[in-house]
């Protein structure tokens, strides 16, 4: 906020107590993680006890970990790209939601409502089936692979929800800020980009992170439209091994991976929310 590039009109605010930061070490509630790991361990132990002659389930999991990691990394890549795309489009759509022009406002409202209310899976199907697999620009053929289409499909609902977050945050800024900026001869767009939005960032951060976590948890949907991410890999491994005792451990294993990634984000979001609410 103190960045000199922005002309931010902040009301007088006492500096935050320093003790706030020192308690930041324990983000991860060990208990919850322990429960999950206990489930995994129990199922592993049971499976291990059953299949004495065959290779142990733990060995199998270790054997397949690199492949699963590759799949999981692909999920993360999709989530990061979709989030970047969705945020950029969402901020612009959010600006349209608070436009002074009536038709722009109602048009963007319609877009937001539509993409917020449509199921993610249906949107994915929509994007997968109705976009071409390659583009022709003049004579050059630009390939348009499935994973990029999935990224686009996932970015759509994110865009709509980010737009709502932006609108809500802008409207939560006191009118005095607008008036003060106006009296200092800032234009509307200058006021918005240099004064209002920088103040919104703090309010938007927790819900934005929340949506990132939701998005990450939606990436396995890509497997339903034929993108080889972690669920596809898991399915292939189970059919390659053909062992029923592997099923519970391997699916719990994937659950653990997602949990270890998403839970810290959720915990951090809650902390930020609590901290901002105090002020």
């Amino acid at each position: 906020m103190n960045d000199s590039r922005f002309a931010v009109l902040l009301p007088l605010r006492l500096p935050a107590p320093i003790g706030d930061r020192s308690s930041g070490g324990v983000l991860f509630s060990a208990q919850v993680g322990m429960i999950l790991i206990a489930v995994l361990a129990t199922s592993l132990a049971m499976a291990q006890a059953q299949g004495a002659a065959k290779p142990g389930v733990i060995d199998l999991l270790i054997k397949w970990t690199p492949l699963l990691a590759k799949g999981f990394f692909f999920n993360l890549l999709i989530s990061v790209c979709a989030m970047a795309l969705g945020t950029a489009a969402g901020v612009l759509l959010g600006m349209a939601r608070i436009s002074l022009l009536g038709p722009v406002r109602s048009g963007s409202w319609l877009v937001v409502q539509f993409f917020r209310n449509a199921p993610w899976l249906v949107l994915l199907f929509f994007v997968m089936f109705l976009l071409p697999f390659e583009f022709r620009i003049g004579t050059t053929v630009v390939p348009f692979p499935d994973w990029i289409k999935v990224t686009l499909g996932l970015a759509l609902p994110i865009m709509a929800n980010i737009a709502e977050i932006v609108r809500g945050a802008v409207q939560s800024i006191p009118t005095g800020q607008w008036e003060a900026a106006r009296s200092l001869a800032f234009s509307r767009s200058e006021t918005l980009w240099k004064i209002i939005l920088p103040q919104c960032i703090k309010r938007m951060l927790p819900p934005w992170m929340n949506w990132y976590a939701i998005l990450t948890m939606a990436t396995p949907l890509a497997s339903l439209v034929g993108v080889a991410e972690v669920m596809t890999v898991t399915g292939r491994i189970t059919s390659a091994e053909g062992r029923t005792d592997l099923l519970i451990p391997i699916y719990s294993y994937v659950l653990v991976w997602f949990f270890l990634y998403c839970y810290p984000i959720a915990a951090w979001t809650r902390r930020l929310e609590a901290r901002y609410a105090e002020r």
Binding site: S29, Q31, V32, I35, L36, Q113, F114, N117, A118, P119, W120, L121, V122, L123, F125, F126, F129, L130, A213, T216, M217, A218, T219, P220, L221, S223, L224, M231, T234, T238, T244, L247, I248, I250, Y251, S252, V254, L255, F258, F259, C262, Y263, A266
Partner: protein
Amino acid sequence: MDDIAAWFQWLHQATGIKLTIFYDSYDTKRFLQGFATTLKLATYCLVLSVALGALLAGLYGSRIALVRRAVNGFVQLFRNTPPLVQLYFFYFALGPVLPKIDGQPLLGSFGWALVSLTLLEAAFAAEIFRAGIEAVPKATIEAAQALGYSRWQVYRRVVLPLAVRVTMPAMTNNLVNLVKTTTLAYAIAVPELVYMSAQIWSEQVNVPEMMVVLLVSYVAMVGIINQVMHRLEVRLRVPGFGQ
């Protein structure tokens, strides 16, 4: 009805827009069956998850630390893992392990979708109810206790009715999410709306038309839910409480 069918047939011939669900009786039936399954799944899930969520929210206030931790663990687990992976876990991993009755699996794909979605939504509902319960003023609870209400009676007669009203907007959101999440059941071949539509579009080769129908169906369903819940919210409003 015949007029509608005739018009859509004419539309197909004139423009190539092929909406077989309006004139092919077999497709109409399949589409409506899909719709019915989606509604059934959503309704059952709603009832079960609200009941389970309320129970869990009550257990959050338990005096036994282990119970509180277990509830918290359950809620965090279901909130922070992908719904699709949960569904696969239940259907592909847990399903085959359960004992069979007369060679029949204990739960079919619909049953597992119901279990999985109920647990997921219950986790969300529990958090929402907990926030609602925390919003009930302490003085109100103390007043009820002073009138000789037991712990359970206070929860059932005072806290819950007030909490339900506070949580209405969040519950509406949750219900909308539930309807949207039922589409995941497609992944385990539950014959719901998306699955049936996919069958229709793969046979009739009318993907764009069915896509639009699907999107419109879901957006309409969610719109109706929003309207109904908003009316309910207005009707249930207690003067002087909330808002």
